[in-house]
């Protein structure tokens, strides 16, 4: 059974210069203990998608569609569940650990405030649990950390603290929005492996957002590829890598630096720039940058086709490049 079911999510920002269509027609689901990767470049709508789920969008955002978590629609939370929902059932880890912690509050107080607010446990119990959590995210000398301030910790350590904070009330679903983008390369893998093992150990659902296909490769069960606020491809991770249907997925994959290629080989960037989301879309958002685009691509928005090698492989393209295109 699905933990989170997002159906036809659309987010439009009403700005003084007119509406901005940040996210349209996005659907996906996450099961208990499973990881979903949302992949896309800047401006693809991946952050807006999860912020809408967390209720973190400004009032100018107009949200339509549904996001059912455990039978309740997140966009219409009943008031009796609202107070102790976020931070308890669903929690989130943010992109930049350098700014995710309040600089004037001690680590301990930031770790325990969520527990104390939602469960009302005593401060000594909360402190004991905080030490437990810091151990869980593998921070050495956990009990000494509670009295420290964020600026006394490195970026990687801070992101571990942010993760520990998110886990405080045993969430069923953890959303991680580019959790390693702001970190050193050497620390990135540690944090990703930590998230992966926490998901398995705690049997959580995990939504992992990234712009790097390499990150989601062996750490997710399903992948959503987003571009211009729309879903380009949605499939089990193995199927995506075995059989890329959408030209954008392919282009994204080819732009990853590959260490096994000979020295001097040039990177393969995607030409052009992301679409202007303030224009009402008429065709595939990727069409202007797509090498395979046909006339139809710029006049008609491709729906999500169900095809490819497996039945649950979806792609929004008239000219699929994988096995669906061959048949």
């Amino acid at each position: 059974m699905s933990l989170l079911d997002v159906e036809d999510l659309a987010v439009t920002f009403n700005t003084p210069d007119g509406p901005v269509y940040a996210v349209s027609n996005v659907s996906f689901s996450v099961k208990k203990g499973e990881a979903l990767g949302i992949v896309g470049e800047s401006g693809s709508g991946k952050s807006v998608t999860v912020k809408s789920l967390m209720g973190l969008l400004p009032r100018t955002a107009d949200i339509t569609g549904t996001a059912e978590f455990d039978g309740v629609n997140l966009f219409n939370l009943p008031s009796d569940r609202k107070k102790h929902f976020y931070g308890v059932d669903v929690a989130m880890v943010f992109q930049n650990p350098m700014t995710s912690l309040n600089p004037v509050k001690r680590i301990g107080s930031q770790l325990t405030e969520g527990m104390r607010y939602h469960t009302g446990i005593s401060s000594s119990d909360a402190n004991a649990r905080a030490v437990e959590l810091l151990d869980l995210v593998r921070i050495p000398d956990a009990s000494d950390r509670l009295a420290q301030y964020p600026h006394e910790l490195s970026g990687g350590m801070r992101q571990r603290v942010v993760i520990a904070m998110a886990l405080a009330n045993d969430p069923a679903l953890l959303i991680a929005d580019e959790p390693t983008t702001a970190l050193d390369v050497t620390v990135q893998r540690d944090i990703l492996d930590l998230l992966d093992s926490l998901r398995a150990d705690l049997d959580m659902g995990l939504v992992l957002i990234t712009h790097d296909l390499g990150v989601v490769h062996d750490r997710t069960d399903n992948i959503v590829v987003m571009y211009g606020g729309r879903v380009m491809e949605l499939a089990p991770t193995n199927d995506v890598f075995a059989d890329m249907e959408h030209p954008y997925t392919e282009a994204l994959y080819q732009s990853i630096p590959n260490m096994s290629l000979p020295r001097g080989t040039r990177l393969n960037p995607i030409p052009g720039s992301p679409p202007d989301l303030s224009v009402t879309p008429v065709g595939c958002p990727f069409a202007p940058r797509c090498t395979y685009a046909i006339d139809r691509c710029s006049s008609e928005i491709p729906p999500l086709f169900d095809g490819g090698a497996r039945a649950d492989h979806y792609y929004a393209c008239f000219v699929p490049q994988g096995s669906a295109g061959e048949s």
Partner: protein, 324 residues
Amino acid sequence: MKFLLQRLAQMVAVVLAVTFLCFAALNFLGDPLFNILGPIADENSGEEYAEVRAEARAEYNLDKPFPERYVRWVGGMVQGDFGRSFKNQTEVSTELSNRLPVTVFLMVYAQVLAVVIAVPWAVISAARAYRTVDKVSTVVSFGLLGIPVFALVVLLSYGIQLKWDPQWGDDSLFPGRYDDESLMSRLRSLAIPATALAIPLIAIYQRLLRTDLISTLQEDFIAVARAKGMSERHVLFRHALRPSLFSMLTVFGIQTGALIGGSIVVEQFFAIPGVGRALVEAIIRDDFPLVLGVVVVVSVIFVVVNFLVDLAYTFLDPRVKFDG
């Protein structure tokens, strides 16, 4: 430690510079002897006063050169001896110790009133930024900022006290009764003067804190706190408020100076026996020792408050360290 010593030296230097300027101005603008004795200070006013003149010169060191006079005055000042008033021959230090508590009480009263009202008001405005509550608040606070203290004094005293609620006309509200020892009666009798002083401060603090809060609320750690499911009240008061207090605190220190100026007007209007009123009287009567005494007290208060503000930064933000 090094920082503290540096700051202390700085503070002493500021007070010395201020007093030196005042001392020089008072000595060179007009004849001090004339201000002490009046017409008989004139050498031609008659031999019978020669002895009086000599006595006065000796008492106030007027027979010594100017630099020595200043050094002697500073020497006395650091021992708490500000000399004697020209006019009624009382010790300036006695005069100051009688009047200082009144002014300090009034200033603390006004600052506390301003902070207690401005902080929650700014939080409400920032939480509802650019919406109706905030827009109305902006208009109101700019309005309050635009009224000068002397106009406020008149408005408050005649408006509230006499016209709108004649019952307040009861002179228990008049600060002439300040002598009363009980705190409640002091608070009551100084309510209107303190309000008059507090109103412009409220407006300034509200503006500054609101702006800083709005920018703090854009920070990532606020989104993190919200994602933790903390209540909006908790987010505002426990996460956003403290990192937003810097500008307000800085201006709090600077406004202490303006408050001294304001208290001169207010004390004069309400006949409050404070330092501000003493200063006005002393200036009118060319009573130099008293003027200098008040200047010392006022500059010391200003310098000390601003030093405390600097120290307070380290409590607001653990990243601020003075030594290291």
